[in-house]
């Protein structure tokens, strides 16, 4: 089909991953941190699909499916926790979560 070098796709995945990483580090708003984690997961998926496509195997796409499932479960629980945090502290500052108790 297309003849894109594998390295270029992996480079794109690396760039997306690094941008998500920077987002997690720099943000204090917990919603933006969750969004950045999504970017990182998506970058990992790009790497898997590119590798699966390179060797003509279906395993890459299956790994992407598993990542997708994991992202869905993570987002549902993460957003519930964010709503909980916001309802308790009236702020989205990630630092307030340091005073958690059972």
């Amino acid at each position: 089909m297309a003849t894109v070098p594998l390295e270029h796709v992996l480079l794109l995945a690396a760039i997306l991953f690094v941008m998500g990483f920077a987002g997690v580090l720099v943000r204090r708003n917990i919603i933006f941190m969750l969004i950045s984690v999504e970017v990182m997961l998506n970058a990992a998926g790009v790497a898997f699909v590119a590798a699966g496509s390179r060797w003509g195997q279906a395993e890459g796409q299956i790994m992407f499916l598993l990542i997708l499932t994991m992202a869905a479960a993570e987002v549902s629980v993460g957003l519930a926790l964010i709503l909980h945090l916001f309802w308790q502290h009236k702020t989205l500052d990630a630092d307030t979560a340091s005073e958690m108790r059972g």
């Binding site: 794109l12 997306l16 690094v18 720099v26 919603i31 969004i35 997708l68 964010i82 709503l83």
Partner: protein, 172 residues
């Protein structure tokens, strides 16, 4: 098709950059949807049409709508943007930017190490994916189902306790 890949990659990278620099959460989310659609196009070019469809339907569709609903429930107004502007000073970017640049500089030689000129192969059809997914990887499908169930139970449990507390507060 090669040109399509590079254009989509540029769009994805630019949109992701906008995602991590926006102050308004809804704007960031819309840019993230653009980035995900560009990545879906890349999947299609790479010969993975099934995953491209899933990226649009589940990632850009379901997960992003979930985010949007959560942001709606938080009901953040204009003061959230001014607060975000306080939190996100330009000098905040220096440390993480350097760390990320180091990480990228470490990743690039790893990616380009070894024999180059590897071209992507023939498309992998959905039928092939399905045969492998429900053959050797059946256990993974069941584990994914359990993970989703755990996510569902966790989210509903967290919200339920909160809802009961809200009801208790409203009553007197």
């Amino acid at each position: 098709m090669t040109l399509v890949f590079y254009l989509a990659a540029a769009v994805a990278a630019a949109a992701t950059f906008m995602v991590i620099t926006r102050l308004d959460a809804v704007h960031a989310l819309l840019y993230l949807i653009v980035s995900l659609l560009a990545v879906a196009l890349i999947f299609f070019v790479l010969g993975a049409p099934f995953v491209a469809a899933l990226e649009v339907i589940i990632y850009a569709g379901a997960i992003m709508v979930l985010f949007l609903f959560a942001i709606m429930m938080l009901n953040l107004g204009g003061e959230a943007i001014t607060q975000e502007r306080q939190w996100l000073k330009p000098r905040m970017w220096i440390g993480p930017g350097i760390l990320s640049a180091i990480l990228l500089a470490l990743l690039v030689p790893v990616v380009f190490h070894g024999k180059s000129q590897l071209a992507t192969g023939a498309p992998v059809e959905p039928k092939q994916v399905g045969i492998v997914l429900f053959g050797p990887y059946l256990v993974a499908v069941q584990l994914a189902a359990m993970l989703l169930l755990a996510g569902l139970v966790g989210a509903s449990h967290l919200r339920r306790r909160e809802y009961q507390l809200e009801m208790k507060e409203d009553r007197p």
